[in-house]
Structure formats: structure tokens, C-alpha cells
Amino acid sequence: MLNLLNTLQREKRLIIFKRALTLCLTSILSLSVAAFSIAGTGDKSPIKKSQLLYASTKDIRDINPHLYGGEMAAQNMVFEPLVVNSDKGIVPALAERWDISEDGKRYTFYLRKDVRFTDGAPFNSTAVKINIDAVVANLERHAWLELVNQIDHGEVVDQFTYKLVLKNPYYPTLEELALTRPFRFISPRCFVKKGTKDGVTGYSGTGPWVLSEHKNNQYAVFTANKDYWGAKPKIASVKWKVMPDHQTILLALQKGEIDLLFGADGDMIDLDSFRALEKEGKYQTAISPPIASRAILLNAHQPITSDQKVRRAFQYVVDKKAIAEGILNGSEAVADTLLSPNVPYCNVGLTGYGYDPDKANQLLSDAGWQMESDGYRHKSGQLCEVTIYFNSDNSQERTISEYMQSNMKDVGVKLKIVGEEKQAFLDRQKTGAFDLQYSLSWGTPYDPQSYISSWRIAAHGDYQAQLGLTRKAWLDETIGKILIEADRAKRQEMYREILTYIHEESVYIPITYSCTKAVFTPGLKGVTFNPSQYEIAFEKMYFEN
């Protein structure tokens, strides 16, 4: 009887177990089927694609073209300048042509007559004047850009002619007017309190794209501007998806949820992943011509690196070729000089230092650093130890630093490696509390004029590292003179002087000339590079049938 009861109890338990299991499995199955049916209606459509899906780790944020809070690539899609930087130099954009006065202080721009802002407001010389006035009214926010300081005033000559009057014959005027920001044009109807520094009420520009939808930190949709005055985009829209994690971006690319990855210096895709995707053969890849300089800043204002012989020795220690081939997978050319000879004014006949540990050893010995039994050099009881700092977000910088550590060890120099959060890294730049620091030039079209101009600003690591140079005051003064020298030959000569000085003083160890990289799906065509690494030429892209 007892056995029978036990058996019955077991059977009941089994029934409960089976029912619970069935319920659980049914729920999971239903959920999966529902998910499958909904997910299946996604982007795998056989019809011709009309929307380009682009992934970025960052949201577009506030794309007010006169401020710096938004993503430059997004600002470039909506807002246009008077003139634009191209492979052929400065070419017309919203200005059809321009004249420069003999003294180099007056620029007269003849505007296009067929342009309207996307909110219907006309683009004319009044719109140009109030936009440029709005930028100048916020002078302190644009202190990095010398042109803003050099503007005396603007004049409306007639409806489609605008004259810009400068205080000095500032030579990079057109280059700086062509930058992605701040000299781009937004509809006057978007102004707040007759200006833009306190924000704008909308984002109506004259560019090939219109920002039609923006979900904060999720995505932004740009649709083609149907009334665009120039060559209209070939695709209907671009969806800018925000994906903070790099691995997620790669998986989304594999799934077909995005069409394009685009970025410089490992900010969107690291070189290992780039090469892996390239080898996989499913995707197309593209690398831009060199656009910026990757270098190590040697602080001439710190005890060990204040000695020019030590800095010179460090030039010979670093095996740049091995870094370019081994770490950067041969995607970047070795840099002999801080700025590539193809950068304007920078072909000044300098010779690189090259990898030569024997010379480095000799220079370090001459500087009084003697090798001791612990395998390191010492001087008056002090160990030859220096520290390199880099942004810990960038794995490439860590690997390069580790390789340099090995190079330095070979000549008896102890190199400490410290990765820091971006803000801490930038704080260190300002205080100058570093021996070596990872450094990137600003890239075209900012090089050389805006980049060297920034050497005079104390918040930059370049300034702090150069403080130990005996001719720092002369250097800053000469940079100031170059920027307002009207005579090209004289400018060239002054550029030669400062670049030679910096090269001989060995304040930078040039490593490679960096490039922008793109990975995209096979159907996507027309992927090219603008001169600025911060812009993406979406308007030239299209899908092949």
C-alpha cells in the first residue's frame, strides 16, 4: 500500500515536472519564433539599397557649425564653406570666385546665386556677413584659429559680393575658411539672439544632406537635399548609428547591419581587425594617402631629456621600420621628418636619423650616461629612466610604446610606460609633466599652419616640450611672423628655419605618416577620402545593383 502511494506521488511529481518543462520550452520557442519573424524583416531585403548605414562610436551631438560640440563628419554633411580644400588646393564652393587685394588684407568673394538654405532662406552676402560676424563674436572660443583673430571686419558689397577685411596679410586665410568649422554657413533663421554661440534653433545649411531625424545617443538620419545646388547625392539617406563598442561594430558589419566603417588612428577600427577583415575577402577596404604625422614628443624641459645629445640618441634608438611593418602592418610609411615633405612648405631637405643603436650608444656615453652592470646607464648615481605617456583607449599606442621600451633597453635606457585616461593625458600635456608623450599632428588641411600655430599655446604638449629649447622665444615669434608674411618665398624660408631647428633639436621622434582607413560592403562604391581626416564624403558614395 505504502509502495503504491509512493509510486503515485512520484508520478504526480513527474507530471508537474513535464508540465513545467513544456511551459518553459513553449515560452522560449514562442519568443524565438516571434523574434525570428520580426528580426527576419530587417535589412536583408533584396531590393536596391537606398540608405547607407554607417556606424560610429560617437553620437553626432550638437552640430552647430560655429561650435565644437558636434561630430565634424556630420557638420560637414550639412554645412558648407565659401571655398573648400581639395587635392588640387583651394577650389570654389559657395563662392564662385574671389579676389585678393595687393596688400593681402582684403578678400572679395563672389557668391553663387543659385543657393538657398534648406529652410528656404536665401544664401547671399548678408547671410555670409552675419555668419562670419557670429563666429568673430565668440572670439575666445576660437582662439586656436588665428584667422578669427586676424579678421578686422566684413562688408556686404552687393547682394552676392562679400568683402573680408583682415588686420594683417594672413596667408592661410583661404585654407582656414575652408575648414570643417567654424566658417560654415547656417541659415540666419536658426540664430538665437542674433548669434550662434548660445545655440541654434535648427540645423539648416546649404549642404548635400539634411538632418531629418536624430535620436540622442542612438542614431541620426541624413536625407539627400533635393534642392542641392551641386552634384546631388546618389543615395537617398545615410543612417548614422551609434555603437560605443568596437567589437559590436565589427559584429554588426558581419551581420550586414552596417555598410561602412571609416576612421583614422584606430578610433573606429584597429589595424589588426582591419587586416583581418581585408584577408577575409568579404569586404572592401581602402586606405587614404598619408594625412597626419605620428610622433613621440621629447620634453626638452625635463631633467634627462633636456640634454640635446640624449634626445638625439633617442632618435637613433627607435626602429621605426619595425614599428611600421610589425605593428602597423605596413599600412603607414616610415616618417623621417615631423611633417611629410608633401605637406605645403615642408619639403625643406631634411635627412632622417634612421635606426642606429651604435650612434645612440655613443651619444648617450658622450652625454655622461655610462652603462653599468645592471644593464642600464647611470650618471652621478642616477638611473637613466624616462617615462612615456599615452591615451589608454588606444591599444596601438600601447604596443608602439612597448616596442620602444625594448629598443631603449638595448641601449641601457629604462622606459616606463603609463597609459592614462584621455582627460588625464590631456592634463599632463598642459602641465608638461612628461618625458615622452605620444603625439599626432593635426593632419591636412591643418598642417602645417594651424598645427605650428598651436605650438605657441601653453595648453599643448608641444609648447611644454619646446620650453626647454634655448630659442623657444624666437621659435614662437617666427611662427607668428610666418602666418602674416605676404611673400611666399620669405614664408618658405622661415618655414625652413623653424622645421630645421625643431629637427636638429630632436624634440620629436617622427614614427610614421598616419592614414584614414575604410572598410565597406562590396556593393558600396565611390568610397573616397577628403583631404581632412575628419570628413567623410558620403555624397560621393552609391550602391551598385
Partner: protein
């Protein structure tokens, strides 16, 4: 009357806790070596020249003494004004207000998964205590919980999104988007609640009321229901307390799955040193923990009078 007094006393006790937390949130951040004015400029990619820094310090009120700044901040915070984000100049309260609903949606689905899986698995394993299924399931849960959530998240994404094409990899577009992040988030908690339910049920099985029910000849299903009811009480208390932990613990999952919630907002604020957002986040999370603790204590006391309404 007794309940009213209890509530009043508990709410009064919360006030010094919140003042203490707000004090810490404000002062610890002010100890940071970075100048907030410079940070605010840098995140907007403006070169911090001395003139601009000076102007920004005035704009942010940093030229005033620390205690006055704290008093101003606290007063404004009580009115819901936490200042503006350094990154995009938007009101912090709006930024947080926009980020909370997605996180709540994620947490709701996660709680549903945790509850359903923990209860079903807890019952099955308790009923079949010591069976091969019980041992295997416990081992499996232990193994899954031991895996870091960022890794599990990426594995799930690769398998169910890239390979099977069942779900989108990331983002918040439609109900299917929430499944993978919710599953990833729930895996950490399932083991706790599953084991809690299982162990409570096994303990309850030995109680006299079960023996009494059996001797009365009640159906096994009815007895299991009673055991479950008694076992769930402590689990529900623990689950209630895990709500603020879940809300505050979505950081990694939200970043991997590009979920636009409070966790992602917090990470972005930390990396950019967006102090107004960090301060508001710390204060709101502390408030959430304190309030949840109060609610759970109150409900527990109501459900089980033996616990009593004591402060």
C-alpha cells in the same frame, strides 16, 4: 497610525543619508586633479587658453568658494536642476530623464527573465533534489554566472544575431532588441535567485506543516504550491533589493548593446569627466537604493508581521 509613524521616521532618517551622499558626490569630484572648466572646454574640443578657461570658470560658477558652490548645487538639485552637461550643454535632468526609460525597460524584461527562469529551475531542482538533472543544471548555472558579462554578451551577439540572425546586434529598435541585453544581464542574477528558491524549498520540505499536509492526504501539487509560497518570500525581498542594483549595474551591457540608457550615459560622463552628470547620477542612484530599501522593508513587515515595524 503605527504604519504612518514608521514611514515618517524612516523618511526622516533618509534625509541625513542623502545629505551625506550629496556631500560626498560633490566633494570627491572636486578633489579630481582636472579643472572642470578645462574639462568642459576640452570635451567641446576648444583649446583651453587662460582667457577661455577664466571665462568658463565664471560661466560654471567655479570662481566661487567650494561651500557656496555646494550649497548652490544642493539648492538647485532639490528643484531638479542639476546643471548642464559639459558634453552637449543640455540640461542634466533631461539627459537623465531620457536615459531612464530605456534602462527601466531593460530592467523590466531582465526581471521577468530572472523570475521565470529562477522559479521554474528552482522548483524543478528542489523537487528532484540530488538528481542528475539537478546537479547538471546547478553546474551549468554556476559556469555561466562565472563568465564576465561583456564576454557573454558578445558570444550571444555572435551566435543569435550574426549566425542565426534572430535578433539585431545592438540598438533599441523594436522589442527584439531588448532580448540579448536582457538575457546577458539576467545571467548574473539567475544563479543567486535560483539557488535561493531551491534551497528554501528544500528547507521547507522538511518543515512540520509539510508533514502535516501529507498526513492529511493533500495532493502533492497543493503541497508544492504551499512550499513554493513560503520559499518565495525571502527571494522576493532579495529580488526587490536587486532592482536598484540592476538599474545601476547596466553599464557594461548597455555599452556593448548600444542601449541608450543610464549606464551608457554614466560611462560616457566618466570618460569625459562630465561632472554635472556624474554628480546627478550618484545622487539619484543613492536615492533609488535608499527608497527601494525602505519600500522592501515596509512590504516585508506588512507581509510578515513577525518582522515588526521598527526603525
Amino acid at each position: 497610525m503605527r504604519i504612518k509613524n514608521y514611514l515618517i521616521q524612516r523618511v526622516i532618517a533618509i534625509i541625513p543619508i542623502l545629505i551625506g551622499i550629496s556631500f560626498l558626490a560633490f566633494f570627491l569630484i572636486s578633489l579630481s586633479p582636472s579643472d572642470p572648466a578645462e574639462v568642459a572646454l576640452r570635451v567641446q574640443e576648444i583649446t583651453p587658453t587662460p582667457e577661455v578657461v577664466k571665462s568658463m570658470r565664471c560661466e560654471l560658477g567655479l570662481d566661487k568658494p567650494l561651500l557656496i558652490r555646494y550649497a548652490n548645487w544642493l539648492r538647485a538639485s532639490l528643484h531638479g536642476d542639476f546643471g548642464k552637461s559639459y558634453i552637449n550643454n543640455r540640461l542634466v535632468i533631461n539627459e537623465i530623464g531620457n536615459a531612464i526609460p530605456p534602462t527601466l525597460a531593460l530592467v523590466a524584461v531582465t526581471l521577468a527573465i530572472i523570475s521565470s527562469v529562477s522559479i521554474v529551475a528552482g522548483i524543478l531542482c528542489a523537487v528532484h533534489e540530488g538528481s542528475a538533472g539537478d546537479i547538471i543544471f546547478r553546474g551549468l548555472i554556476f559556469w555561466i554566472t562565472a563568465m564576465p558579462s561583456f564576454w557573454v554578451g558578445l558570444l550571444l551577439m555572435w551566435l543569435f544575431s550574426v549566425k542565426f540572425n534572430w535578433f539585431p546586434t545592438s540598438g533599441m529598435e523594436g522589442f527584439t532588441s531588448v532580448i540579448l541585453p536582457a538575457v546577458t544581464l539576467s545571467l548574473t542574477y539567475i544563479s543567486t535567485y535560483f539557488r535561493l528558491i531551491r534551497n528554501n524549498m528544500i528547507q521547507n520540505k522538511q518543515e512540520n506543516y509539510v508533514l502535516y499536509a501529507r498526513s492529511l492526504g493533500l495532493k502533492e501539487r497543493t503541497i508544492t504550491r504551499h512550499i513554493l509560497k513560503n520559499s518565495l518570500q525571502s527571494s522576493l525581498t532579495a529580488l526587490g533589493m536587486s532592482i536598484p542594483k540592476l538599474i545601476a549595474g547596466t553599464v557594461i551591457v548597455e555599452n556593448i548593446f548600444a542601449w541608450p540608457g543610464i549606464g551608457r550615459l554614466c560611462v560616457s560622463a566618466i570618460f569625459n569627466r562630465d561632472y554635472p552628470i556624474i554628480q546627478a547620477y550618484v545622487l539619484l542612484m543613492a536615492l533609488l537604493f535608499v527608497v527601494c530599501s525602505l519600500v522592501v522593508d515596509f512590504l516585508s513587515a506588512l507581509l510578515d508581521p513577525r518582522l515588526g515595524l521598527e526603525v
